[in-house]
């Protein structure tokens, strides 16, 4: 037995040495650089491609690929995208990012999909000096991780106050009820913003109710809310739970408008809740029916390829790659530091989301569009 153990230990040691050696082999050549004024760069993408949130990853991948084709066709910048899956887990996202940074020597990283993943990947990218752009990370504190961390997804802290302000102005709201999912990062951080904004606007919060992921019966919470008779309901929920909440609320006779966070903003709400979804107000950077040449071109192209209208994740990813391409062009090289500096200078960029700038921290400066569901359709809220 003892001899065997020695052998096994020896074998393990040997295999790990071999493993390390094999690993050291690849990926150290400088594959990117400037050739005759044309900048070419490898860009890594960490995305949620398998698992429960694969739909997000797919949309992001679709948006990025479309942008890549167009940018490469134009010819100023040549971008090579390397996709890595994170499966929505922090440790997977981190190893994926490490691979991109150290083995593939990418110039910049786009992604990861979730804010929780960004909380892990961001500091590492920042330490390694690789610019990283989140296209769907809306939680608070993301660009504040470091100088190399950016995002072009509109944070909740910008979106929710915008939609609340407009709803309050229109419906003359004094009293609100809050409903949120307390076991999800996304909805929890949305709730924090709602609470803060409600306090700042001097609204009276009648009650704060919570629910959990996957819950299907909200009657207890809704009955309480109904009895308190609020002017407006603030609901920080993801679309699948949110749609059911609206459905049950309308059936119970609650007819006040709802203001939702970013996760509530999905055409799926209309599919699930039908006419009960009328009266949902959300702020979004992305409105697919905007009368803008660029937007319509993107929508047509995306629809041709994927068979459905692009959502905000696809649109944000599409714009992110354009912003990065712009920075690469301005930097004139694929050097990580040069690209970071050029990115930080991005100002008044005209993308499909609208006029876009980074603030000094790398956060988003833009005006969101406020939408409302009317007649089972998203229309601009006026």
């Amino acid at each position: 037995m003892r001899g065997l153990m020695k052998k096994l230990v020896g074998l393990t040691a040997l295999s790990s040495v071999l493993f390390l050696t094999a690993c050291g082999g690849g990926g150290n050549e400088e594959s990117s650089g400037a050739e005759g004024g044309k900048v070419s760069a490898d860009v890594g993408v960490v995305s949620f491609l398998t698992g429960s949130g694969a739909a997000y990853g797919e949309a992001i991948q679709g948006g990025l690929k479309l942008a890549q084709e167009e940018i490469n066709a134009k010819g100023d910048v040549k971008i090579n995208l390397i996709f890595e899956d994170s499966a929505g887990k922090q440790d997977q996202a981190l190893t994926a990012a490490q691979k991109l940074i150290n083995s593939d020597n990418v110039t910049a990283i786009i992604g990861p999909t979730l804010s929780t993943e960004m909380n892990v990947v961001g500091p590492e990218a920042d330490l390694s000096g690789v610019p990283i752009i989140g296209t769907s990370t809306t939680a608070e504190g993301i660009p504040q991780i470091g100088d190399y961390v950016f995002r072009n997804s509109i944070p909740e802290a910008l979106a929710i106050p915008a939609s609340m302000q407009q709803a309050i102005d229109k419906y003359d709201v004094k009293k609100v009820a809050i409903l949120y999912g307390n076991d999800d990062v996304f909805t929890k951080s949305g709730y924090d913003t709602m609470k803060k904004t409600a306090e700042e606007m001097g609204l009276e919060v009648l009650t704060t109710e919570t629910f959990q992921k996957g819950q299907s019966d909200y009657n207890a919470q809704l009955t309480k809310i109904k009895n308190l008779n609020p002017d407006l309901i603030l609901a920080s929920a993801l679309y699948n739970e949110g749609a059911v909440i609206m459905d049950q609320a309308r059936k119970m006779g609650i007819d006040v408008p709802f203001v939702g966070g970013n996760g509530f903003n999905s055409p799926e709400v209309i599919n699930i809740a039908g006419e009960s979804s009328n009266g949902l107000i959300v702020a979004t950077p992305w409105y697919s029916e905007k009368e803008d040449e660029k937007v319509q071109e993107f929508v047509t192209k995306f629809e041709e390829e994927h068979g459905h209208v692009p959502d905000q994740f696809a649109a944000q990813a599409y714009d992110a790659l354009y912003i990065l391409a712009d920075a690469l062009k301005n930097a004139g090289s694929s050097d990580r530091d040069a690209v970071r500096d050029a990115l930080a200078k991005t100002k008044d960029f005209e993308g499909i989301l609208g006029n876009f700038s980074f603030d000094e921290e790398g956060d988003v400066l833009m005006d969101p569009t406020v939408l409302v569901i009317e007649g089972e359709k998203f229309v601009e809220f006026k």
């Binding site: 493993f19 922090q90 691979k99 909380n119």
Partner: protein, 325 residues
């Protein structure tokens, strides 16, 4: 030369493999008394949160945070171990699964301390702290030809490797000691063991506490390597994942969970080149394995066969080996 071999990516994967090995061992320990515990994700969470909060709020050195984290987890292991003594098999599994969920719900709802489901970020990173300390003594990684981040991950990897080797060594020794034999006796037949004078309460709770201690330790390391934790990390799917390491590798000998954790952590990384399909292959491998070897890949007969083969080879090459005959 050295510098080129050290790629943080591979070291990172290596670190996760080592942490998963430690987690696998934690389930193996409780399982060696015949108790199937699914609470290890919860213990891991307790270790992680305790250490993270202590190092952030009280600025304790990481090492003390990790030790306290592991001890608190062990204490919880005792607390859960005593009332569940009478439970066996699936009933124990359900109770421990419930305990894990309770822990997670506490993390979600105790917002003033745990920051709710948003999680805790900015946890001191163990590698960066090591580097900072060494720099304080005037050491620069560049002097041995390494970049800062290479050094950071190398130091974590070596640290974890040493710890893992120690853990394996300790539990192999224990397996061959009085305690290990008591565990095995309890696993085979509780009543018979009791009638032979083995204090079942003591040994069962001991196994539970040891499992919790090791899981809590792994959790604390996890927190200081990722530098960010949230309750979702310690939900039941983590418990099941750890259990799969043990079931896949084999729960009879300690090499089972070690191999299971090594193989199943490495697999998704090796399969990266087929991107979207990698988890399909991963699932397929597990199904085939379970169909072919339901007892796990590594069991006692396999080890015996291996050792016989090894001995034969030893004899062929050995010169003065006749004494052992």
């Amino acid at each position: 030369m050295l510098a080129e071999l050290i790629n943080p990516y591979y070291l990172q994967v290596g670190c996760f493999i080592l942490i998963n090995i430690i987690l696998g061992i934690s389930v193996y320990i409780t399982l060696s008394t015949g108790q199937l515990s699914l609470a290890n994700a919860g213990f891991m969470g307790i270790g992680a949160y305790t250490s993270a909060l202590l190092t952030i709020h009280f600025e304790l050195p990481i090492i003390i945070g990790i030790i306290i984290g592991a001890l608190v987890a062990a204490l919880c292991g005792v607390l859960i171990g005593i009332p569940t003594l009478r439970l066996q098999g699936v009933y124990l599994a359900i109770v421990t699964l419930g305990f894990g969920e309770v822990i997670r719900v506490i993390f979600v709802n105790w917002e003033s301390v745990t920051n709710g489901s948003v999680g805790i970020s900015g946890i001191p990173h163990i590698g960066r702290e090591i580097l900072k300390t060494l720099q304080g003594f005037g050491f620069q990684p560049i002097s041995i030809g390494l970049q800062n981040n290479q050094f950071i991950f190398l130091s974590i990897f070596i640290l974890l490797l040493l710890i893992t080797i120690f853990v394996i060594w300790f539990f192999r020794r224990q397996h061959q000691s009085r305690v290990g034999r008591a565990f095995a006796a309890i696993k085979l037949d509780e009543k018979a063991a009791e009638s032979m004078g083995i204090n079942i309460t003591y040994y069962k709770v001991l196994a539970f506490a040891q499992g919790a201690l090791v899981a809590g330790f792994a959790g604390a390391m996890y927190a200081h390597i990722l530098a960010y934790i949230s309750p979702a990390d310690f939900a039941y799917h983590r418990a099941v994942e750890i259990l799969i390491f043990v079931v896949f590798g084999g729960s009879e000998v300690i090499w089972g969970p070690i191999f299971g954790a090594f193989f199943l952590t490495l697999m998704p990384e090796v399969l990266r080149f087929i991107s979207e399909y990698r988890y399909m292959i991963y699932g397929l491998i597990i199904i085939i394995m379970m169909a072919v070897r339901p007892q796990g890949l590594i069991d006692v007969p396999l080890l015996k066969a291996l050792s016989k083969k090894g001995r034969k080879r030893g004899q062929k090459h050995g010169t003065g080996n006749h004494k052992s005959m």
